[in-house]
C-alpha cells in the first residue's frame, strides 16, 4: 500500500488555474508528480463525460480547476462547472466511485502556492482512499 501512487488528471482553465500551475513552476514550488494536466479554455468547457472517461481509463482522481467565482474570463463558466460537478459527484458515488475522487477548486493565476497545496492534499487524500475498487 505504501508504494501506491495515485494518478490524477487535472483539467485546468487557461486563464487562471493553468497560469497558477505555471506560477508554481516558475516559483519552483514542489508538489507530488502524480498529476497530469490538460489545458482547457474554461472550467465550463469540461464535459462530465471527460471526467467519467478519465476514471474509466484508470485515473484515481480528477481535479477540475477554474477561476475564483466572479473572476471567470468568460463571465460565468466556472459557475456552470460548479453546478455540473456537484451533480456529478453524487452520480459518481452512485456508481461506486467515491465522490472525493473528483475535486473542483478555484486557483487564480497568482496562486502557485495554492495549486501546489491542492495537488499535495489531493494526492494525500487519494492515498488514504487507496486504489480504486
Amino acid at each position: 500500500m505504501s508504494d501506491y501512487e495515485p494518478k490524477i488528471l487535472g483539467f485546468l482553465c487557461n486563464w487562471c488555474s493553468y497560469a497558477g500551475a505555471d506560477l508554481a513552476g516558475t516559483s519552483r514550488i514542489h508538489y507530488p508528480p502524480n498529476i497530469r494536466i490538460i489545458r482547457v479554455p474554461c472550467s465550463g468547457r469540461v464535459d462530465p463525460l471527460l471526467v467519467v472517461k478519465a476514471f474509466e481509463r484508470g485515473a484515481d482522481g480528477v481535479l477540475v480547476s477554474g477561476c475564483h467565482p466572479g473572476d471567470c474570463h468568460y463571465v460565468q463558466g466556472n459557475y456552470y462547472a460548479r453546478r455540473r460537478f456537484a451533480v456529478l459527484r453524487d452520480l459518481l458515488d452512485f456508481i461506486g466511485i467515491e465522490g472525493d475522487r473528483l475535486r473542483l477548486e478555484w486557483v487564480s493565476a497568482a496562486e502557485g502556492q495554492r495549486f501546489a497545496q491542492i495537488v499535495s492534499d489531493f494526492t494525500k487524500r487519494l492515498k488514504e482512499l487507496g486504489p480504486r475498487g
Binding site: 513552476g25 514542489h30 508528480p33 494536466i37 468547457r45 471527460l50 468568460y74 456552470y80
Partner: protein, 660 residues
C-alpha cells in the same frame, strides 16, 4: 494518418536536468503517428526554430508536438514556425515539460521523466486529432481608451495622440494629475512636481486628438482586441463645462466648507470646487453630498415634515455664464475603442493598521503623502512645515518601510520610499536649517539614475541615519517619543521628537479587484495587476489589446511610470496601426445533422453568440463567430454532442484523456 514530429527542448538545464531526454525521445518514437523525434538545447532560438522547419520539410510532418516551456510562454513563437514552414499554425501542440514538470519535480528525476513521457503522449494524442483552423480578418477601431489620468496615463494618452490616433482619457477625479499633482518636489533632482507635470496636463487638455473625460468611470468593457465596446459613466457635475469659464467666483463664494480630499483632509474645500488651483480642467464640480441646495432639494423630494434647510444657490446667482445646471444627471456613454491602456495607479498603505505607531491618534504623526501636502506651496500650510499647534518642528523622525518589507503587512519593497524619505530630510533641512532629522531605515535602497548621488548628498547634510525599525511611538506631554533599537550597535534607545513622518508603502488601488474584473485582468499575490510576462511583456496583459502603465503594475517612481506609459502607448499604437487583425479561430461550431434545436447552448452562452436558425424547416443553433470567445460552455452543455469547440474538440480532449 497524421505524420507527427516530436521536438523535446532541453531549455538549457531547465528541463534536461530533471527529465531524461534520451528516455523521453525513445518513448516518443514509439507513439502512434510519430515519424520523427528530436531534441535541442533551445528550440525557441533561431537555430532551434530552423531545426523544426527543416524536420517538417524533411519528414513531411503534418503535426508538431513540442515538449518545452508553458504554451503561455511560446505557443505563438512556435505557431509562427509552423506557418513559416507551410503548416497551419493550429496543428501544433505543446507539452508543458518545464513549468508543470521539470521545475516542480526536480528532486524526483524518475517520476519527472515518467510524467514528461505521459505529457508528450497526451499531446501527441491531441495533436493527431488537430485540424487546420483559419483566422478571419477583422477591422480595427482606430481609437484608444486610457483609464487613469496620473502621470502614466497622461504620458500614454499624449504619445498615442501624437501618433495621430484619437484618444479618450477617463479619470474618476474632477482633475487629472493623479498622485504626482500632490507632490512638492521630486527626487533626485528636486524639480518641482507641478512645474514638470502641469504643462503636460495642459498639453493633454488642449490636444486636438484627445477627449478628456474627468469625473467619469469605466463601468463595463465588452468585445475584443481591436474592437472593444466600453460603457463610461460621466458623473453629474451640476456644472455645464461648455458654459463655465473657470472664473472661480463660485468656489470663492460657496459657504460650505468640507475637508479637501486632495489635501488629505489637512485643508478645506468648498462644495463647488476644483481640487487644486492648477486642476485640469480648471472648471468646478458640485459635490452633491455636501451642497446645501442639493440637501434642500432632497428634503423637498423626501416629503419629510418640518422646516426645509435654506436654499443656498449662491453659485448659481453669482455665475456670470449661467453654467450651474441642477438638473444634470449622470450620463452613460457607449464608446468603441481598438486598444485600452489601464493606468489606474496605486493607493498609499494605511498606517492606522499599525496601532503602535499611533497614526490617527497622535496629531503629529503624519503619512508621507500628508507631508507632501505640508511641503507643497499650494498646500494647506502654503508650504510651511508646521505642527498641529502652528509651530515649526525642531526634531523630525522619518520611519521607512511602513507597511512594506514587513511580513505582517506587505512583503514587497515599495521602491520609492527610501528616496522620498531622503528628499523629505533634505527639504526639512532646507526650510528649517536648525531642525534635527532622523531617518529610521532597514536598508537604504537607492538604485536609480542619480539616486546614490542624492543619498550621499543627504548623508553629508547632518541628517542622522539610524538602522532600525521603530518599535513604538508614544505621545508625551511635550511631544512624541520613539522607542527603537539601533541594530548596528544593538542598543535600545528612546528619542523625543516633535513630528514623525511614516514613509508608507504603495499598495494596489483599493478597488483594484473591481478594476480587474471590469478589464479582465489578473492580479499577482501582492494585488497589483499582472503583466503578460514580467521581463519580456511588461505592459501587455493576457487580454490582447489591453495594456498596463504605471504603478498599477507594481510600485514605481515617476521615471518608471512615464516609461511604462510610453511603452503601453507604443503597444497600443502598434495595434491601432494595423488595418485589420486576425480573429481567434478557436470558436464553437455546430454539426447541423446532430443538432436537435433545443437551444440549451443559446441559454448557457455568456456572449449571446448563439442564435436559432431554420434549416430545411428545422430549428438548429447557429454560432455568430465574431461574438464567440471560445469558452466552450456550449460544447460541454450540448446533450447531443452537436456543438464543438475548435482547438479543444471533444475528440481532442477525449484523446488526451485516453492517453493518460
Amino acid at each position: 494518418m497524421a505524420r507527427i514530429g516530436v521536438f523535446i527542448c532541453h531549455c538549457g538545464h531547465n528541463i534536461a536536468e530533471s527529465v531524461d531526454i534520451a528516455k523521453a525521445l525513445e518513448a516518443a518514437r514509439d507513439l502512434p503517428g510519430v515519424v520523427y523525434a528530436g531534441d535541442y538545447q533551445y528550440y525557441c532560438s533561431e537555430p532551434g526554430q530552423a531545426a523544426i522547419r527543416q524536420a517538417i520539410r524533411d519528414h513531411g510532418l503534418t503535426r508538431v508536438v513540442i515538449g518545452a516551456c508553458s504554451p503561455r510562454m511560446h505557443e505563438r513563437t512556435f505557431q509562427e514556425v509552423l506557418s513559416s514552414a507551410g503548416l497551419n499554425p493550429f496543428l501544433l501542440e505543446i507539452a508543458n515539460l518545464r513549468e508543470h514538470c521539470s521545475w516542480v519535480h526536480s528532486e524526483e528525476k524518475g517520476e519527472a521523466t515518467e510524467k514528461a513521457i505521459d505529457l508528450i503522449r497526451m499531446a501527441v494524442a491531441k495533436a493527431s486529432r488537430a485540424e487546420a483552423l483559419f483566422a478571419k480578418p477583422i477591422p480595427v477601431t482606430k481609437r484608444a481608451l486610457v483609464v487613469g489620468g496620473g502621470i502614466a496615463g497622461i504620458q500614454a494618452a499624449l504619445d498615442i495622440a501624437n501618433a495621430g490616433f484619437e484618444v479618450v482619457l477617463v479619470e474618476r477625479e474632477p482633475t487629472i494629475g493623479g498622485k504626482m499633482a500632490k507632490f512638492d518636489k521630486t527626487f533626485p533632482t528636486l524639480d518641482c512636481a507641478s512645474c514638470i507635470l502641469t504643462p503636460r496636463m495642459v498639453e493633454l487638455a488642449k490636444h486636438p486628438n484627445i477627449r478628456l473625460l474627468t469625473y467619469a468611470e469605466v463601468e463595463d468593457v465588452k468585445g475584443y482586441s481591436g474592437n472593444f465596446e466600453v460603457r463610461i459613466r460621466q458623473k453629474a457635475r451640476k456644472v455645464d463645462h461648455e458654459k463655465c469659464t473657470g472664473c472661480g467666483t463660485c468656489w470663492q463664494k460657496c459657504p460650505t466648507k468640507v475637508p479637501s480630499e486632495f489635501d488629505l483632509g489637512l485643508g478645506k474645500r468648498t462644495a463647488i470646487y476644483i481640487p487644486f488651483p492648477q486642476a485640469v480642467p480648471p472648471k468646478p464640480v458640485i459635490d452633491t453630498a455636501n451642497c446645501r441646495y442639493m440637501a434642500y432639494l432632497e428634503f423637498i423630494s423626501s416629503g419629510r415634515e418640518g422646516k426645509p434647510p435654506p436654499q443656498c444657490r449662491i453659485c448659481e446667482r453669482l455665475c456670470p455664464t449661467g453654467a450651474i445646471d441642477w438638473d444634470e444627471e449622470d450620463e452613460i456613454l457607449s464608446e468603441k475603442f481598438g486598444a485600452i491602456v489601464v493606468a489606474t495607479g496605486y493607493d498609499l498603505f494605511d498606517p492606522s493598521s499599525i496601532p503602535q505607531y499611533g497614526y490617527g491618534r497622535f496629531a503629529n504623526v503624519v503619512t508621507s503623502l500628508e507631508f507632501e501636502r505640508l511641503l507643497n506651496a499650494s498646500g494647506p500650510t502654503g508650504g510651511r512645515i508646521l505642527l498641529k499647534n502652528g509651530l515649526e518642528p525642531k526634531r523630525v523622525a522619518i520611519i521607512h518601510c511602513v507597511g512594506s518589507r514587513d511580513l505582517n503587512y506587505n512583503e514587497y519593497c515599495s521602491k520609492v520610499c527610501c528616496m522620498y524619505s531622503m528628499k523629505y530630510a533634505y527639504l526639512i533641512k532646507e526650510r528649517i536649517p536648525d531642525a534635527e532629522v532622523y531617518e529610521f531605515y532597514i536598508d537604504v535602497r537607492s538604485a536609480g539614475k542619480g539616486f546614490e548621488e542624492f543619498y550621499n548628498r543627504v548623508l553629508g547634510d547632518g541628517i542622522k541615519f539610524v538602522r532600525g525599525k521603530v518599535a513604538e511611538i508614544l505621545q508625551g506631554r511635550d511631544g512624541l517619543s520613539l522607542r527603537f533599537e539601533d541594530t548596528l550597535t544593538g542598543n535600545r534607545h528612546v528619542l523625543a521628537v516633535d513630528m514623525v513622518i511614516l514613509s508608507c508603502g504603495l499598495i494596489p488601488q483599493r478597488d483594484a479587484e473591481e478594476i480587474a474584473r471590469i478589464f479582465k485582468l489578473s492580479r499577482g499575490p501582492d494585488g497589483f495587476f499582472l503583466e503578460k510576462h514580467l521581463k519580456l511583456d511588461p505592459v501587455n496583459t493576457h487580454t490582447d489589446g489591453i495594456f498596463l502603465a504605471g504603478a498599477c503594475i507594481a510600485p514605481c517612481d515617476i521615471p518608471d511610470a512615464v516609461a511604462k506609459g510610453s511603452a503601453a502607448a507604443a503597444k497600443a499604437i502598434g495595434l491601432l496601426s494595423q488595418e485589420e487583425l486576425l480573429s481567434e479561430p478557436l470558436t464553437a461550431i455546430v454539426d447541423l445533422s446532430k443538432c436537435s434545436g433545443c437551444m440549451l447552448c443559446e441559454e448557457v452562452c455568456p456572449f449571446e453568440a448563439i442564435e436559432p436558425q431554420t434549416v430545411k424547416e428545422k430549428t438548429v443553433a447557429k454560432v455568430k463567430e465574431e461574438l464567440c470567445k471560445g469558452c466552450g460552455a456550449c460544447a460541454a452543455a450540448c446533450r447531443s454532442g452537436a456543438i464543438n469547440l475548435r482547438g479543444f474538440t471533444h475528440q481532442q480532449l477525449l484523446a488526451e484523456v485516453e492517453a493518460i
